[in-house]
């Protein structure tokens, strides 16, 4: 995928629907960058040792980094989860938006809920309210399609699908 006239270490790949430019930096790591619709160049530098830098290029000088944030492994996971998790719910929303009578909602599990630390099956959510729990969002991670044996933790967010009444009932159940 090398561009003619450019060093071989450059390549353009299609990560999602955005034109991402990838550059190998020998001895340092790998740099990915792309231009947003509003014409800001943004990128991620993945160091060989696992450190990740998220950075924004200057508007006056398209080659210079204007500001940079250095992330540890955990922080990078969290950030990607925040972006990924939100996008996941949006995708579901869009997919289910056209079905009348079906709602999708994100329900937080209160830290003091009786179900915090219990498995999902203990809530009997489906039998009691008819609502399906399709994903868990935890510390930025998405756990899709949790089973009855999946453990719930206080602070988790449950992505649920059902009737508006059912979801209200589940919300009340979780708050107990």
């Amino acid at each position: 995928m090398a561009q003619p006239g450019r060093p071989d270490s450059h390549s353009r790949g299609d990560l999602g629907r955005v034109d991402v430019e990838e550059t190998k930096l020998p001895g340092i790591g790998l740099r990915h960058e792309f231009l947003t619709v509003r014409e800001r160049r943004i990128g991620v530098l993945t160091h060989r040792m696992g450190r990740r830098d998220v950075f924004l290029y200057s508007e006056d000088d398209p080659d210079a980094v204007e500001s940079m944030v250095i992330l540890t492994d955990d922080e990078a996971d969290t950030l990607s989860g925040l972006l990924g998790g939100a996008r996941f719910a949006e995708h579901l929303d869009r997919a289910l938006g056209e079905v009348p009578g079906v709602a999708i909602e994100r329900l937080p599990l209160p830290v003091d809920s009786r179900y915090a630390g219990h498995v999902l099956g203990d809530t009997h959510a489906r039998t009691e309210t008819g609502v399906s729990i399709v994903a868990l969002l935890r510390a930025g991670d998405v756990l899709p399609a949790p089973g009855p044996a999946t453990c719930l933790l206080g602070g988790d967010t449950l992505v649920v699908v059902g009737t508006p009444e059912g979801i209200a009932a589940l919300s009340a159940l979780l708050a107990r």
């Binding site: 090398a2 550059t23 190998k24 001895g27 290029y57 000088d61 980094v65």
Partner: protein, 407 residues
Amino acid sequence: MILAVEVGAETVGSHIAPLLIELGAVVLGLAILGRAAHRVGLSPVPLYLLGGLAFGHGGVLPLTASGDFVEVGAEIGVLLLLLTLGLEYSASELVGNLRGSGWTAPVDLVANATPGFLAGLLLGFGWRGGLALAGVTWVSSSGIVAKTLSDLGRLANRETGSILSVLVLEDLAMALYLPVLTVVVMGGGLARGSLQVATAVGVLLLVLVVSLRYGERLSRLLPADNPELLTLTLMGAMLLVAGLTQQLQVSAAVGAFLVGIAVSGPVAIGAHQLLMPLRDLFAAVFFVFFGLSTDPSEIPAVLLPAVALGVLTAATKVGSGWYAARRAGVGKRGRLRAGLTLTPRGEFSIVIAGLAATGLGEARLTSLAATYVLLLAVAGPLLARCADPLANWMYPPLPGREPRLAG
């Protein structure tokens, strides 16, 4: 029998004490110098060289007891410098860089080696000395440049790719240049010389091909999960291969570099971390040793040529760096940054000068190289720092631009 052993032990003991004291004082002295360098944000290399000058012949505190150890330590320092450099690259990165590089490497070579070669001729070092000096002025210091990029927060800048590409190409070229230089400075006829150069090229190609094909399999043989065994294995392999390549007169340093290239993948990253402290210690010893073998009283005589050569080759480096960045589609300000960032010369120039010194025995060449590296190792990072203000002055940002909301 017992008496003899005791006498032996005593002589060893009386020899070891001053050696330890002297060595300890030197290494502690280096630590203090390194600390000072760190505080003002400089590379420690020039300070180590200054330290070596102080301890050497005609210096303030000449070393007497630890000379042998320092000499062997310096040799190991060179090998470790090149081994860790090789560990940073994989064979596929090297070949990939070479393929996409076009005229970058030739432009870099011609622009920066020619002034050194001509200076060598003008100063009466002969063509052999000229060839050595050409190498000294040619190669940028990978160590100093990489550190400057990271210090200035420019690792993610778009011109960084072309800067690193130049460094990689130079390092790869060293694998051919060092054997040639070894042959040339050692004398020996044209026939024998070309045979050795051919051997060098053959060994280099062999290692590149083997590590491209079997690098991962070879690396998997290494005890990745056992730091102790990994250190011993790599040190052993490095010394053995370096010794063998030296025997073939291909230059031990190139052997060590090739060992580093052959090791790839996660093991290489782990090994790099593991060997860093060892490398730092022995490389410091190497820079001191080079300072030791330089006579400070020679420096005033070579100061003027060194400054002139420094200014000239800083300028040519800006030119070749500019060219490399332009090829990669980087804008003018980025090109200026790339050029100025590449100006520092350092460890490699000293390795080359050291090699030439042992063969040619030209004291003035050593002093010239030491002074030259002292200048550019200090001035180079400062020039890199000045790149942005300079670019603002040369290419002012367009005035009256609509301020825009971020995003």
